[in-house]
Chain length 473, copies 2
């Protein structure tokens, strides 16, 4: 097996190596596109299943809206078309003919879903309406950064409608917190969360909220967004309902999405020089069983062990290949980030036991021998331990890469030395923000209210608003 | 609630009424497109889950390949481009610029997946390779027939690769039988299955096999196809591997797919004048619980009943709306095809029981009162009974609409009177087939080998090949 670039040496080379060699993904033929291979897709399916459950628990139902929309739909909300127009893929021919009106492949589905909402919503009794869809999205992009930036990606987009602005705002925050908890619990990714600035918001929203993860190079990964659209889209798409008093009024809406890029974030945050390290909660294979020798008795014993794992509801793989060495197998399963490896040899058989080697542990080299009969008691806590260790390490990383900074000079110095999340007091304008971006490539990832006041690092004005600046993926 | 057209009076008006009024789907804004609404999508998710399990049991893994491909990819297999070219949607502009090479939205993914297979497959050790994807497909279409014919549809497409032609052929039939069993077990849809003629085969395949269901109007619904591609695509896309003898040889391939149209088939086959009748195996709500009065004690009792259902793993809905009458509720849940209704009133409460009314039964009006404590024992068999009754009725329908016909005159007479599946001996040519299609709109749905010989109904030649002719959706 070819070596992968060490993570500490070159993060992005390591990242591409790991994804390609662990067969998570590959490049599509059209520039900017990506193929998600079976092992990668199994991880995505686990992410989807877990997040979908959390979304359903909020009373949201899944549906499916068309891929294509008339171009004119996108022009209905002015800021929306301005924001998305450079990213659109346009269909001009269909069925062998040039089309009278060109069609847009969805870059997001507000302009596709809301005409139907206008048709379906009549009365306050129809609200709240909460619908989500898991679909593919196209935003024009020429350079592929596997999972993190691709022309086509998979995501879920939720579109909720409410009768009051207050309810809408509360729900926007509720969905943001669903994302925050999901990132932390399932992906072991601690995040910053809060509103974006006017400059960074979603085209057409009133306010955009985001969860942002800290990558090992100090850069920010936007892992999910929740937009309060207020009545901006309901006015553009004529989504009105009759309220309890019999009056026709506009509805309030939000939309919120998480895409395959969150998977890129989890890969980048947790992996090490040996390859992937998958949080057990999303690992397609939680345990790999490897007999040390390819003898009949070992194979039989290994099958028995796998049966016990299956009975405990623990997904596993039994590696019986006779075309590669045991050492090769160990390396490969480490590369693939499988949380636990079970080794079976003479000694293990004699003791009706297995030797377990976790993919990561607090000690440098750790292994444990347990009785087969105790798999159901011993294995789940070991998986939980890996999950919490990953989270602990990610929190340490996040903390170690977040700096309180009080002046623009200090900020520029820091960013020249090493990229970080800069926590600063902020009272600047959009123009200030743009200027800082031009100079330093850093943008405000999220805002926060501070309990105390301080001086803006850029304008010197007093404020209790805190901004997290970082360079983003 | 508005009335729906009776099924016996006008099948296609009934079909559209049911789908729109039960809120399964709606029309998208672009001609030919469809929106799958939450209730319809929940049915599709159940179909998908059940079929996906059966596909995984065949050792197939899910993945995701890009939506867009260079136009030139589709030209590599000559028959393939000829067949699909009139149905393509073409992207000519992206990111605000005209593209150097136009892109095709996938009408099926052979031409997108196989260049990657060529890259991934090197040795006999890489085979068999079995990959499936659940994705959206676009084939140009101007008239929408909800679920049955839409410009965009959802499907799964499996793409398997083998080292021998024999293995490939066996697997092609195996996947056909997965579809047959799925249609019969899960959707209660009996089907004809077998090879298609050269004229009806998939563009580029060696042989196409299909499962075909009989609709109540005697028309055929193609519910799934399995194509033996032999080495036609592997030669076009250069999918070669080194065999055990160290020689470079071409691989053998098949592909197979089932789409959202199978859901249309199940709707059309099973519904009645009151609306949908969902096979319990795919019904999102298996039991609806309706308190006869909106009093606190009934509601409390109904919640207890729902808790028992949930504990038994039976999905249910508790209808507590106070804005509509009980009669309205009954009609609506019948329209929505929910298999069982539980009614709760004074008498039921007194006896710690519920009254169950099945959506269909062998008697005209049937209901049963059971103790709440026996829900876990009594309800599952009632659901199974509905499932088997639906299948029995569908088999009767299929049999009653299949006629053995021995001459072309008889065939034309029959098709003028009433559309049916005509079982005929067949030794005609492709030209004969085309001529019959032009005259009668009927095509050969599948072929079959008969144990006995007979005379071709068209040419008079002796043969043991039987063809099923029908008009198709």
């Amino acid at each position: 097996m070819e070596k992968i670039t060490p993570k500490s040496k070159n993060l992005s080379a390591w990242y591409n190596d790991v994804i390609l060699k662990a067969q998570l993904a590959d490049y599509g033929q059209v520039r900017g596109t990506m193929v998600i291979r079976p092992y990668g897709f199994a991880i995505w399916e686990n992410i989807k299943k877990e997040l979908n459950l959390r979304i359903e628990n909020e009373g949201v139902k899944n549906a499916y809206f068309p891929l294509l929309a008339p171009y004119s739909n996108f022009q209905k909300e002015k800021e929306h078309i301005e924001g998305f127009s450079p990213e659109l893929a346009i269909v001009t021919h269909g069925g062998g003919k040039e089309l009278a009106e060109k069609l847009v492949i969805r870059p997001t589905s507000e302009a596709i879903i809301y005409p139907l909402y206008a048709k379906w919503i009549h009365s306050y009794r129809d609200l709240p309406l909460k619908i989500n869809q898991w679909v593919n999205i196209v935003r024009w992009e020429k350079r592929t950064y596997l999972f993190l930036r691709t022309m086509e990606f998979l995501w879920q987009e939720g579109h909720n409608v409410f009768s009051s602005e207050d309810e809408c705002q509360k729900d926007t925050i509720r969905m943001l917190n669903v994302y925050k908890k999901f990132a932390e619990d399932a992906l072991a990714l601690p995040v910053f969360s809060g509103p974006k600035t006017e400059f960074e918001k979603f085209a057409g929203s009133k306010t955009t909220y985001a969860v942002e993860a800290v990558m090992p190079d100090g850069k920010a990964l936007q892992a999910g967004t929740s937009h309060n659209l207020s009545d901006k889209f309901s006015k553009a798409f004529d989504i009105k309902y009759q309220n309890k008093e019999g009056k026709e009024v506009y509805a309030y809406q939000n939309s919120w999405g998480v895409s395959t890029r969150i998977m890129g974030g989890a890969i980048m945050a947790h992996g090490d020089d040996k390859g992937l390290v998958l949080p057990p909660s999303i690992a397609p294979i939680k345990v790999v069983v490897v007999p040390i020798k390819a003898e009949e008795k070992f194979i039989k014993y290994a099958r028995k062990v796998q049966k016990v794992l299956t009975d405990c509801g623990i997904s596993s793989e039994l590696d019986l290949r006779d075309t590669v060495t045991v050492g090769f197998k160990f390396n490969e399963w480490e590369l693939k980030g499988v949380p636990l490896r079970m080794e079976i040899g003479e000694k293990e058989m004699r003791d009706s036991a297995v030797t377990i080697v976790p993919r990561i542990s607090e000690e440098t080299s750790y292994q444990k021998k347990i009785a087969v009969s105790s798999i159901n008691r011993e294995v789940p806590p070991m998986l939980e331990k890996i999950q919490s260790l990953l989270y602990k390490r990610a929190v340490e990383l996040k903390d170690s890469l977040t700096f309180s900074i009080s002046s623009y000079e200090e900020f520029k110095d820091q960013m020249k030395k090493r990229k970080v999340f800069a926590r600063v007091f902020w009272a600047g304008s959009t123009e200030d923000e743009v200027r800082i971006k031009e100079k330093t490539k850093c943008t405000i990832r999220v805002l926060e209210n501070s309990k105390v006041f301080g001086r803006c690092f850029y304008t010197g004005r007093e404020t209790n608003t805190v901004a997290y600046f970082a360079q983003s993926y």
